[in-house]
Structure formats: C-alpha cells, structure tokens
C-alpha cells in the first residue's frame, strides 16, 4: 500500500512539477522546533516537496508556479487521494513562513543548500518555485542528494543581502540576481 500511495502521489505531481521528493518523519528528528512540520500537522508521517523551474523565463513571478491552475489541480488531487485513504494532508504554499520549504526540500532529496541559503535544485538551479504537502500518510522517502551546488559562489558574490556564506538578511532579499546567475 505504501508503494502504491507513493507512486500515485509522484505520478500526479510529476505531470506538472519538474522535481518531486519525499521525506519521512524520521528525517525531521533534528529539525528546529520552530520550523517543524508537526507545527502544521502533529501526526505527520511524510512531507512531499515539489519544485518547478523557471529557467526559460526571467519574468517569472518569483515563488509562483507558471501554470497556477494546473498546479492547484494537481496539489488538490493529491490531497483528495491521500484523504480518501484516511490521511489528513495540508498544502504548504511558497509564501508560507511557518515552515522552511528549503529545509524540507533538502530532506526530501530535491536539492541542497546554496551559499545564499536557498535551495539549489538539479537542472533548475536557484530558479525553482517550491511548495509542499505535509501528510499523515507513510510514504517511501527519497535519498537526500549532494553535489548539486558546485560552490562557485556566484550567487553569494552577486547577492546584496549576503556578506557571509549561508547567512542572509531576508529583509534585503528579493532582487532575484542569484536566480539568474546560478549556472546549475
């Protein structure tokens, strides 16, 4: 059943999103309480993270998916599917500040941390828009990945909000320069 549920979820989301990964609850043992998925859903079993790249469009709305209705329909279909099996599920949008989508993305194996503290996704660089579904369902987790970020530091050098790698002043963030310069 876990296999079937995992495959169904990934199949639905892969029709719309470029990258889909899953982290199980064990991955979050050392997660900071402040950003822990249990804040959203106490009995969570898995976190599904998905990304859509915007490499071809510098005009892309940052943090949004290009096909907003298709992405909403896919996310809605996954939630309905999981809830039909008795698993409560909650969609976390890119604008959520109550959990860390970057941290979830790392633990779900869709990317790794960049020097400017955002998520580098394979083939999408820093252009990926992210969202997640926190669910009570136990699902098969993906392996965490490394080696996506090539540590060229171009993102950090161009960032007006960063003076030290992996530390950033979020209040100064939003120019999108790092997205455009990342060679991944």
């Amino acid at each position: 059943m876990i296999d079937h549920n995992t495959n169904t979820v990934k199949s639905i989301l892969s029709n719309i999103f470029d990258s889909v990964g899953i982290a199980n609850k064990e991955r979050f043992i050392n997660a900071p309480a402040k950003y822990h998925p249990k804040i959203i859903l106490d009995g969570f079993g898995s976190v599904i993270v998905y990304a859509q790249g915007n490499k071809d469009s510098s005009e892309q709305d940052m943090g949004s998916f290009s096909d907003i209705w298709g992405s909403l329909a896919a996310q809605n279909e996954v939630v309905k599917f999981l809830e039909s099996h008795g698993y409560k599920s909650v969609i976390i949008s890119g604008t959520s500040r109550s959990v860390s989508l970057v941290q979830m993305g790392i633990l779900a194996g869709i990317g790794e941390l960049s020097p400017v503290n955002s998520l580098v996704v394979k083939d999408l660089g820093l252009t990926a828009s992210l969202a997640a579904i926190i669910t009570e369902a136990p699902l098969i987790p993906d392996e965490e990945i490394t080696g996506v970020c090539i540590k060229c530091m171009k993102c950090m050098n161009v960032c007006p909000a960063t003076e030290i790698a992996y530390q950033r002043n979020p209040e100064k963030c939003g120019c999108g320069k790092c997205r455009n310069i990342c060679p991944v």
Binding site: S64, I68, G70, L72, N76, I91, G174
Partner: protein, 137 residues
Amino acid sequence: MNKKSIQIFLGKQIENSCGSTSGGCNCSSETATSTNSIDELLKKYTTVLEGITIFNVYKISDCEDNEEFINNLNQVLNKSGKKLIVDNTNLEFVLSQSAPIIAVDDKIISIKSFPDEKQLYDAVMSGNKIPVKKSCC
C-alpha cells in the same frame, strides 16, 4: 448588443466580521488592497464599462454558506478549461493563490491582482488576458 458579464471573485478579507461587508484588506500575493480601495476600483470599472457590461462581485463569508460562490467559480473554471474543482475544503487555499479572479463571460482574464480600469477595459474589448503581475519576493 448583448452586454458582457464581468464576474469578480474576491479572496478572504482580513478582519472580515460576520454581518459586515467593510473593513480589512485583501492580501493576494502582491497587492494588499483595502476594501475601500476595492469599492473605489469597482466604481471606476463600472464607470469605464458602463452600458457594455454587467458586474457580479462574489465574496466568501465565514458566516454563510459559500455554495453560490463555489458554483459560480466552478462554472468559470470549467468554461475556462481548467481541471480544478473547488469545494469547501480547498476554497480558501485556492483563493489564497489566485484571488482576485476576474472573468468575462465565464472566461478568466485576470488573477492575483486588480488591473486598473484601462487594463480591464482593454481586456474586455480585446478578449485578451491581463498578465499576472510579478511578486515582490
């Protein structure tokens, strides 16, 4: 000539209180437009499109059944070729990602922000969609 029907679906109003239709603001991804501003904007829309269109503005409510809102929004989504079906369980999330939604004769022409009256006039007359504004962050 038949008048065009413009439908505007508003997101949840912050500080929305039961029995009141004023106060609060509508924070879609980019814009935070006060209810007073929305009313002023609707007046401008009505003025510039007077005689050409009929306006229907739909608001969700914490206090009342949103069945009419949901039925009308689903009709618009369906006529616009969207796969999404809205119900009470996903309505709030869908609107948080897309409102305000503006449709002309059941076809969506604008989401996520309010166009100015000229943009709306041009879109109504041409049938073209209004580009989604970029978010600030």
